[in-house]
Every structure is written in structure tokens, then in C-alpha cells.
Amino acid sequence: MNQLRLRTLSLASLLLSLTISVPVAAHHSFTAQFDANKPVTVRGTVTKMDWINPHSWIHMETKGPDGKTITWMVELGTPNVLIRRGFTKKALESGTEIVVQGYQAKNGENKMNGGYVTFKDGTRLFAGGSGPGEAPTPTPGTPQK
């Protein structure tokens, strides 16, 4: 079921995410590129995976409430970090159904900095995103392992 799910995190979890200290200053790209106040969750299907330095990108599509196809780009960490975290060459092949949690681009386009990728079998992997605090906490209904 490809259905767009765009959910706002609870205020409590958002405040928590913004107050957690990080071991180093946030990566330059997050603050300038993405909005920590726009957490998003998208369920859809992978159409293309770019395993490229310095940032990998998932291209995916989902269906809006009106049935129209909506495309998203999801920025992930660098390939060698993702592989160390458990991603494999075949993990994000075209047609794979996934749920991605992250933060949307400041310019309002359908791009996000990925926090977690959850697969159909419930496996969830950290996507190496570069947000300023914690990864988004799981939203209700998101498959968890």
C-alpha cells in the first residue's frame, strides 16, 4: 500500500530532539538545507538508489490522497557509513517498499534528510542523516522490528 503519510511529531518528542546535545557541531548542510521543524514520514516504493559520495539519495514515489503519484528524494549518509550500518547493495533496489522518517527541505520541495529507513519485514536501519538532534522517534503504525 503506497500511501503518503506526512505526520508531525509530538511537541514533546520534537522538543526532546532539539535539546539533546551532540558530540560535534551539526553538519553544515542540515541547518542550511533542511528544517528541523518539518519532520516527515513517507511510505512508498524505491524507484532509484544513488550510492554516491558524499551523500547517497533514495528516489521514491508514493500516492497522494487523490491517487496521483508524488516523488520524493531522501538524502542519506555517505555509502561507507551506510554499509557499516547494515545496508547492502540489494537493500534498496527499485520496487522495494519502505517507510522513511526524516526532515523536509527548507524550500518546501519533496526532499528530506533521512533519519530511519524501515523495510516491509520490519527491519529498520539508521540512514545516517545529518539532523541537529535525535532521529525522529517512530510514529504510530510504522512497522518496527
Partner: protein
């Protein structure tokens, strides 16, 4: 005097590297040579393992270049904590750590080994003024830039420069050395650099020619490859700067001269030393030294598919304009 101290620090750094690498070096290893008789430095030698070693030494340590047991234990706790973040508690992962390699930890107190206190020498008064103005504007504009010129050459995917490309950074620290008769190529994963270094004794290009990575010439001193680089365009900061991020690195002048030394220490290690001098920028020369070490799973350097004006730049500039439009008075729109 300074030369003898530098030599001592170099020996010390090599000794630290050797003590670690000796655990993994094959018995009976001898320094290999290329088919044409040069010392063989070829391979992929990431600097990732030195990530938890600061560029500058804690001032409390003075001229002591090696951590004591207590300090080393503290560093290893930091490495372990960072690695645990990397491994990830799936419910509470600080995202920022997700980009970064944790490093391995070492007893070396700082990457800077000369001056003896492990601190980068003071900037000249003129450079202090110039850098203060540049950093003030950068800090004001980096999260909402007016133009691509408000971002660094790293943000813009242009270059980290000859020094920054060799330093341990937070990720993508692959360094590959390829040799051919009369040439050495030094390839850096971040950001897609490949310096072709002639070894035939030719002179540098004319002073009117200025380049992002400078103009490199190499020669052998025993088994050590010495690379002298000049003719920089002085538009890239030198080093990562305090805090590790590239924006803090001072911009040099065209007087910058970089001298690097590569020595094969064992089967898995190349000892690296770099001396930086620019009398217009720093009050005296300074030197960093650290081992570059093979890693079992770091056998391929991926293409660095980043160029000026690609996704990041579009998103950042359009994002800044969107933020302006939101905060503009009703009916004004974006500027």
C-alpha cells in the same frame, strides 16, 4: 635547535605508529619497491583512524606529545562512546553522529608536532584582522546565504586544498597513492582530487600560474617521498580549523609553501608529515605528522559525485529565500 626537535617528534610519531602496526605487520616484511626501483607507496591509506586525535594539543599538556595512561583511557572512552553512537541505539540516535567515522584512538596528543607545544603558531596581525572579518560574515550567512560566495569551497564541492585533503576529516578519508616511472599520483576521496607529482626535477610553473591544489614537485630522500607544493591560489583554507569544520581554517596568501614527506613504515602504514609555511599568514612554520593506515574494508574509493551548484547549493539558496518570504511583512514577498 628547532630542526633537532622536529626530528625527535618525527621519530616519536614513527615509533607510535610502529608500536601499533607491529602487531599486524607480517613477519619478515621488508619495504617493497616498484618494478622500476622506486620505494613502493602504492595503495589506499585512509587517515580515518586518527579522527579522535585533535589537530592542536590541550595546552595543559605543554610539550608532552604522548598521552599518559589516564589520558589515553579517556580518549578510548570517547572513541567507544562515538562508536556506540555509530552502532546506534535505534530509538535514540543523535543524527549528527551518523555521518561520522569514529576513529580508532591513539596515544599521539595532537596532529601538530611542531612547534613543541603542539599548537598552530599565531596568525600575523594582518591575517588576524582579515580572518576575523571573513569569519564574522561566514557565521552570519552560512545558514541563510545570499550567494554561493557566502559558502566555503567545501560547501561548494570545489576543494579542501592540498592540506585539508590529507587531514583526517569526519568521513570520506580515503587517500590513494599510485606510481608510474617518473610520477606519483596522490588521490583524495574528498573532494575528488588527484595531484600528479613529477619526480624528474623540473622546476615549478611560473609565479603567475595559481591553482586550487598548487603545483607539486617530488623527489626521493632515501625511502621517503618528499613533495614540495607552491603556486596556490590562496582561495582555500589550510587545515580543518578548530572544531574540525573547514570554515574555521584560515585563508593563506600566495606565499604558501607546503612540504610533505611520505615514508612506508610497514606493510599497512605510511608515515605522513606536512610542514606549512606562509610568512604572511603565520608567524612561523608549523608541522603535523601522523600515520596513514590501510583498513581491511577500505579497498575502494567511491567516486565523489559532487560539483558546484548541484543539489545542496540549489536547496540552500532556495531555502534561504523561502525563509525570507515567510518572515517578510504581508504583501512584500521575498526580496
Amino acid at each position: 635547535m628547532r630542526g633537532s626537535y622536529l626530528a625527535l617528534m618525527w621519530v616519536l610519531t614513527v615509533a607510535i605508529a610502529a608500536s601499533v602496526s607491529a602487531q599486524t605487520a607480517s613477519a619478515g616484511w621488508s619495504a617493497p619497491k616498484t618494478p622500476w626501483g622506486d620505494p613502493d607507496l602504492q595503495g589506499i591509506w585512509p587517515s580515518t583512524h586518527m579522527l579522535q586525535t585533535p589537530v592542536q594539543r590541550d595546552p595543559k599538556m605543554g610539550t608532552r606529545a604522548v598521552l599518559n595512561d589516564e589520558e589515553y583511557a579517556q580518549r578510548m572512552r570517547q572513541v567507544k562512546a562515538f562508536a556506540n553512537i555509530e552502532a546506534g541505539n535505534p530509538d535514540r540516535v543523535p543524527i549528527s553522529a551518523g555521518w561520522f567515522d569514529p576513529g580508532k584512538g591513539s596515544r599521539q596528543a595532537s596532529l601538530v608536532v611542531d612547534p613543541p607545544d603542539g599548537r598552530i603558531p599565531a596568525l600575523t596581525p594582518e591575517t588576524q584582522k582579515r580572518e576575523a572579518e571573513r569569519l564574522a560574515r561566514y557565521k552570519q550567512k552560512k545558514d541563510a546565504p545570499d550567494t554561493w560566495l557566502d559558502l566555503t569551497t567545501w560547501d561548494r564541492c570545489i576543494s579542501l586544498g592540498a592540506v585539508g585533503s590529507m587531514l583526517p576529516f569526519y568521513y570520506n578519508n580515503g587517500i590513494e597513492i599510485v606510481q608510474a616511472p617518473g610520477y606519483v599520483v596522490i588521490r583524495n576521496e574528498m573532494i575528488h582530487e588527484a595531484r600528479v607529482v613529477p619526480l624528474d626535477g623540473r622546476s615549478h610553473v611560473g609565479t603567475g600560474v595559481r591553482m586550487w591544489m598548487g603545483d607539486s614537485r617530488g623527489h626521493w630522500e632515501g625511502t621517503t617521498l618528499v613533495v614540495e607544493t607552491t603556486n596556490f591560489n590562496a582561495r582555500v583554507g589550510v587545515g580543518p580549523g578548530d572544531g574540525g569544520f573547514f570554515d574555521a581554517a584560515p585563508r593563506p596568501t600566495e606565499q604558501l609553501r607546503v612540504t610533505e614527506r611520505f615514508t612506508r613504515a610497514d606493510e599497512h602504514t605510511v608515515d605522513y608529515q606536512v610542514t606549512i609555511q606562509d610568512p604572511n599568514t603565520w608567524t612561523k612554520p608549523w608541522t603535523m605528522a601522523y600515520p596513514l593506515r590501510q583498513e581491511p574494508n577500505y579497498t575502494v574509493i567511491s567516486e565523489y559525485a559532487c560539483h558546484e551548484g548541484n543539489i545542496f547549493m540549489h536547496d540552500v539558496l532556495s531555502g534561504a529565500r523561502a525563509e525570507e518570504a515567510k518572515s517578510a511583512p504581508a504583501g512584500k514577498g521575498s526580496k
